[in-house]
């Protein structure tokens, strides 16, 4: 018996719909499960006090500080490099062998697993350059990791600035660099900011690359050469060593809320930016 194509169509559509809903539900379930168990633990004291007995009691204040400072160091280093690369690729070269090689390098770097970044950061910054387990080592390692994200989004952003903007700049007698810095970059700024924010989001959730470069000290860092523990690392240690499930849930909840808010704002800025130019 031959099944009618229209009937097959209806069945397939149902199956695909169920698959899609199932996928989204799995992912949403994870978020709700963590928030449900974690939000009960969070109060002002949890946020503002230091951990006691390795995290069994007390709060996560030093980890919040670490989670803010490390990505900050990372973007301070990665943004100029990333935006510079994007400017070169879009404004100074035509598509050719050179751009292909650079793009290829960027894609490959984006695919390198975080544990490899961890190993590399450990030998180069911690041991070879003598920075030790420190915010500086961790920040540099994270900077290398998020560089591809920043390059890609900046490139898209600079490309979407209409060509007429550049023509106006040049026809007013501006040099190429003046046109770029005063007209193109301000126009592309929201898109570039999106890339930087996505980079921050990725740094905050990172564990493997950070634990071997920034260490896991629970003290509040006072200089770039101090070791620091981020929330992601703290959560990993609490959960894996079974120190305190309760505090692990609390830390995870804050981590997830922070990352979702960061990524949401990145998408929102991008959405408004795209709406402006199309």
């Amino acid at each position: 018996m031959k099944i009618k194509p229209v009937f097959t169509e209806r069945i397939v559509k149902k199956i695909l719909f169920v698959g899609t809903v199932f996928t989204v539900l799995i992912l949403l379930f994870i978020i709700f499960y963590v928030l449900k168990n974690g939000l009960a633990v969070i109060d002002l004291e949890f946020l503002l006090s230091s951990p006691k007995e390795l995290g069994r009691a007390g709060g996560i204040f030093p980890c919040i500080i670490g989670t803010i400072i490390l990505p900050l160091v990372a973007i301070i280093i990665a943004t100029p490099l990333g935006v510079g690369t994007a400017i070169y690729l879009t404004e100074y070269t035509r598509e050719g062998k050179l751009t292909r090689i650079i793009r290829f390098g960027t894609e490959c770097l984006a695919g390198v697993p975080s544990i490899i970044f961890g190993l590399f950061g450990f030998v180069l910054f911690v041991v070879y350059l003598g920075f030790g387990w420190s915010i500086l080592s961790g920040g540099l390692t994270l900077a290398f990791m998020i560089l591809p994200t920043i390059i890609r989004t900046s490139e898209e952003a600079i490309k979407s600035v209409p060509y007429s903007y550049r023509e106006v700049g040049l026809s007013l007698g501006g040099t190429k660099w003046q046109t770029i810095t005063r007209i193109v970059l301000p126009g592309a700024l929201p898109g570039i900011v999106t890339g930087v924010i996505l980079g921050i989001g990725r740094s905050i959730g990172e564990t493997a690359a950070v634990i071997f470069t920034a260490g896991s000290s629970l003290r509040i860092p006072t200089s770039l050469f101090d070791s620091s523990r981020t929330m992601a690392v703290h959560f990993y240690i609490l959960a894996r060593e079974g120190i305190s499930m309760e505090n692990a849930y609390g830390t995870a909840a804050i981590l997830i809320i922070a990352i979702l808010m960061i990524n949401l704002s990145a998408y929102w800025i991008m959405y408004r930016f795209m709406a402006k130019f199309s």
Binding site: V12, T23, N263
Partner: protein, 284 residues
């Protein structure tokens, strides 16, 4: 003077543009420098095909870890491929634009959930389920495959959606005008046209699964054995590095970097393959 400055700036930017390649080379060089001596001492064949990982006795052979990575990655792919393809095809071809506009960013947003959280979910939700229904202590290939499968869902889905949407609309119109249904059009026209992009997405997903570390440590059991069932605990290449790095010294540390070399080479091969396949599509 201005012209001179302009040239200086262009040169500076050119150097900046090579930063990613320079970093990539630096990573390769440093890992090689640290790990190569022990590989040469043990012998490449022994290092990769031998089964004894006994750091205290000075035996460094990583075949069990290679098998561990292979099993878990294969499991993750089996788990996520049908779901992510269903998602991609539905969102790109069948959904009304409104649903698509909400669901695609949602899936991408969820890609930001940190891997440690996924690992934790495996511990608190999957372990009890596996203990109750399948026996054993919980940490095993099955648990790791399920969690990794979920983790790479967003990667494969969003790349597949992009390559489906890149197929020119006229292809679909041609097929629909010939009287084909939507599904026939997707199956016979759109999917073949988007094939290489989808395959590239799957390969990148594989890369992500092979490289995942923290989540795997939390749920795979980390035993150095060659598994014979999906309920056996295994240790992956990544887990091997991360578990012992904090206390390893001397040759032991070199052996961990050597594990990193193997991982780095595997990932580079995957990246290059994905890149070549994706480029073929662009050329077409």
């Amino acid at each position: 003077m201005l012209k001179y400055n302009e040239r200086l700036i262009q040169f500076g930017l050119l150097i900046t543009a090579f930063s990613t390649i320079a970093i990539l080379i630096l990573i390769g060089l440093f890992i090689l420098k640290e790990g190569l001596p022990i590989i040469l001492k043990v012998g490449i064949k022994n290092f990769i095909c031998g089964v004894n990982w006994l750091p205290r006795e000075g035996e460094f052979e990583i075949f069990p870890m290679i098998m561990g990575s292979l099993w878990i990655t294969a499991g993750a792919l089996l788990m996520s491929m049908p779901l992510s393809l269903a998602c991609a095809i539905y969102l790109a071809e069948f959904s009304t634009t409104k649903i698509g506009k909400i669901l695609k960013p949602t899936i991408e947003l969820l890609a930001g959930i940190p891997s440690v959280v996924y690992g934790f979910m495996g511990m608190v939700i999957l372990f009890p389920l596996i203990r109750n229904f399948l026996g054993g202590p919980g940490p095993c290939i099955l648990a790791a495959s399920i969690i990794l499968g979920i983790m790479i869902l967003p990667t494969i889905t969003s790349i597949s959606i992009d390559s489906l949407q890149a197929v020119p609309y006229s292809y679909r119109e041609g097929s629909l005008a010939l009287g084909a249904t939507r599904w026939q059009t997707v199956k016979m026209v759109v999917l073949p046209a988007a094939r290489s992009g989808i395959i590239a997405g799957i390969i990148l997903g594989v890369g992500r699964a092979v490289g995942e570390t923290m989540a795997v440590i939390m749920i795979a059991g980390n035993a150095v054995i060659i598994p014979d069932s999906i309920l056996d605990p295994v240790r992956t290449l990544t887990a091997n590095i991360a578990l012992e790095m904090s206390f390893a010294t001397g040759e032991h540390r070199q052996a961990l970097f050597a594990t990193g070399i193997v991982l780095f080479i595997v990932i580079m091969i995957l990246n290059i393959t994905a890149n070549l396949i994706a480029k073929k599509e662009v050329a077409k």
